[in-house]
Amino acid sequence: MRIAVCIKQVPDTEARLRVAKDGKWLDEEDLRFVINESDEYAVEEALTWAEKTGGEVVIISLGPARVQEALRKGLALGAAKAIHLVDEAYQGGDARATAVALAAAIQNEGADLVLTGSQSDDVGYGSTASLVAGHLGWPHAWLVMGLEVEEGGATAKVTREMESGMNEVFRLTLPAVIEVQAGINHPRYASLKGIMKAKRKPIDKPTPAELGLDAASLGAAGSHLEILEIAFPDSGDGAQMIEGDAAAAAKELVEKLQKEARVL
């Protein structure tokens, strides 16, 4: 079984963020990047099922040169190969343009199953993988908390979290795109041997032409969505600090919620 995992590199959630001069993205200087949290769980899930079915994991990421570090980590954890969509034409796209590129790379690899995290910790659109599934014409599941590959990879049983704490369990046919949530498993640590082996594993960097793609449909050029501005919200003056011991403060808070905010 060939399992592709799409991962994204995002700013460390603990990093102090600054808006770039053009006001449209973050200032990336001195910013630490890490693998998006739920994507780490997708990598673990992929490695687990590849081990159980005697298959192989391919890690795919679209992004600038720095993304190589995240791909190397995936290789160190046990993936066989990585694909880095690093060509300038791929960069700066919206979720749709990114999905076009990812779908082509997945098809090119002949993957039987695609795993990703459910949402990126930076922009949080939560739509890229559904668009990938759309482009491939494959079934798709979001917010997955349990996965069982069945019948040697013909189908998969998926457990999803619904509203109000209920679970939904269903079966879908493979190939499919499955988006997992953080917490679905315990991601492994990279071992020293894994890190040294990763050095010798291939990272392919296919161009749009090699994937049969028209550069005009990719990246910023192929996007329908344009970021106009990112900014921290103005700090309002509506906040009230409630002083005093916990019991008295709680009482006052309830009163305010009832009488002033009228939400209780």
Binding site: E69, K73, A190, L192, M196, K199
Partner: protein, 382 residues
């Protein structure tokens, strides 16, 4: 001169950091208080290759050098100096002694399981009456048919109670000249007449296991002798050269841990209407700590690089160990000061770094002994 780390070295550093945060950080305070040895953490560290960093792959190791080794010990020690010293002692003392001076059979028999992390190594040189003056060793090994009978007590042995395999230095020929009368033997847990003595109740690095080991008419077969008889003390000195890089990395990690704790606190704690990091007095503490840490890091890594390059590192390792050890104590003390009363209680780690740091100026040669080694070289011929 290029000080940058390779992508693999950065990945190794990150792997050690992830492991320390995920597996060590949650248990630090409980294990410190209870003086409990984190065997489960050590076993997990073994699975990732941290117990065989320095040994070639054919002996079950990761086949890396002292730079990678120092990076890992530093990362572990940032979170818990106890785990740092345990991983260090296992790698660079016990296992390394057998690897460097053992024959092929001995390497297969002991280095492989130790490097794979299936067993824990200890190393016993220090004795009640032979500390800084290690050549004053009294433990005795007498030749008998097929082996040696060992008697004596080793003091302050890291992994004295939890170790499976222990390298012991003992006098084999009392009539031979000083430094040429001692031999090194491999002893194993469960041998008749070999047992842990008192486990020490310590100021710091309380989760690491430090104990006496006692030999009472313990028969050790000939095949457990490392190298030639009489070479044990010289072997031990060479092992300590690498060991000093360990303590240098331990000191560096401890200093960084104390610094980061204090830096974070100084941004949160408000007095006189502002965060205390805005007071110049606090800023000067932080700047001084950061500068000494930077110097300790360069010294540690340059000693490690020299070890990988030439293996001749006695001077540099002593300087690195001396400076990093004292930097750990300095930063841990300033750390407590920055936290004020909260540095004095156990709710914050500043207090623990303060206690843990002190081992760095004592273990594997005190600061005084390092100065002696450095000065002796400066004044050679005078």
């Amino acid at each position: 001169m290029d000080f940058s780390l390779t992508p693999e070295q950065l990945a190794i550093q990150e792997a050690a950091r992830d492991f320390a945060l995920g597996e060590v950080d949650p248990i630090v305070d409980e294990y410190d208080e209870a003086q409990k040895f984190p065997m489960d953490v050590m076993m997990k560290a073994g699975e990732l290759g941290f117990l065989g960093i320095l040994f070639p792959e054919e002996y079950g190791g990761a086949g890396l050098g002292y730079i990678e080794y120092a990076l890992i010990i530093t990362e572990l020690s940032k979170i818990d100096p106890s785990v740092g010293i345990s991983v260090a002692a296992h790698n660079s003392l016990g296992t390394n002694h057998i690897y460097k001076f053992g024959n092929e059979e001995q390497r297969q028999r002991w280095v492989v399981p130790l490097a794979e992390g299936k067993k824990i190594a200890a190393w016993g040189l220090t004795e009640p009456d032979a500390g800084s003056d290690a050549a004053a060793t009294k433990s005795r090994a007498e030749k008998v048919e097929g082996g040696w009978i060992l008697n004596g007590t080793k003091q302050f042995t890291t992994h004295g109670t939890v170790g499976d395999v222990c390298v012991i230095m003992a006098v084999t020929d009392p009539s031979a000249p000083r430094h040429h009368n001692i031999s090194a033997f491999v002893l194993e847990k469960g041998m008749d007449g070999f047992r842990p003595g008192k486990k020490e109740n310590k100021l710091g690095i309380r989760a690491s296991d430090t104990a006496e080991v006692v030999m009472e008419n313990c028969f050790v077969p000939d095949e457990n002798l490392l190298g030639e008889p009489g070479e044990g003390f010289i072997q031990a000195l060479q092992i300590l050269d690498g060991g000093r890089i360990s303590i240098s990395a331990l000191g560096l990690g401890t200093a960084i841990g104390a610094f980061e704790t204090a830096l974070a606190y100084s941004k949160e704690r408000h007095q006189f209407g502002k965060p205390i990091c805005q007071f110049q007095a606090i800023q000067f503490h932080l700047a001084e700590m950061a500068t000494r840490i930077a110097a300790a890091e360069i010294l540690t890594l340059s000693a490690a690089a020299e070890m990988d390059r030439s293996g001749k590192v006695s001077q540099l390792a002593s300087k690195a160990k001396l400076y990093s050890g004292e930097t750990a104590v300095f930063c841990a003390e300033r750390g407590v000061q920055i936290l004020g009363g909260y540095g004095f209680i156990k709710d914050y780690r500043a207090e623990k770094y303060f206690r843990d740091a002190k081992i760095c100026t004592i273990g594997e040669g005190t600061s005084e002994v390092q100065r002696m080694v450095i000065a002796r070289n400066l004044l050679r011929g005078h």
